[in-house]
Symmetry: C2
Subunit: 102 residues, 2 copies
């Protein structure tokens, strides 16, 4: 899961799509509008985002609507936050040690 | 920068190395120990991590010591957190709307 989420986020167009969807659902053509690429390329990026679990799409009538999935976003964020806090705790301990042993 | 950071994190071995380094610096051979791969493969993963800015290495005598760089980790975390909070705020507004317009 994390493999695919981080892979999906490694592309700036896909991050742009995630950013757009964080402000609300959008159709595929709305997602494509700010991007300088073919609709086929957009659909391919969308498939990578769907495979990662970051985006869910549903067909409403003739329009495919895309939604952001908070869970995948949160999982990646949590993984990073845990490593960062581990790293900061270690720096704090080092700081304490150097203060006590000048 | 974010392209390379997320690309680096898309691989489970590299995430394992980041996890190990979040608990303190390590030599290349210490990083390699829990991984079932050649030292050459470990060095290649390390190069991807260095290129992304997540890891910094320095040669101390004959040993190459690897350190985690908090900045890159934090930048990726911040990017995710901003999209998540945007998404949650939208859900909250939707909730309010549905409460006021039952």
């Amino acid at each position: 899961m994390l493999n695919q989420v981080f892979h999906a986020l490694a592309d700036p167009s896909r991050r742009g799509m995630v950013d757009r969807l964080s402000r609300g659902p959008a159709s595929v053509s709305e997602l494509a509008k700010p991007l300088d690429m073919s609709l086929a390329a957009v659909v391919q990026h969308l498939q990578v985002l769907e495979a990662s679990g970051l985006v869910r799409t549903e067909k409403i009538g003739r329009v495919r609507v895309c939604h952001l999935e908070g869970t995948a976003l949160r999982e990646a964020e949590t993984w990073l936050a845990q490593r960062r806090t581990g790293w900061e705790r270690r720096l704090d301990r080092l700081d304490d040690y150097l203060r006590e042993n000048p």
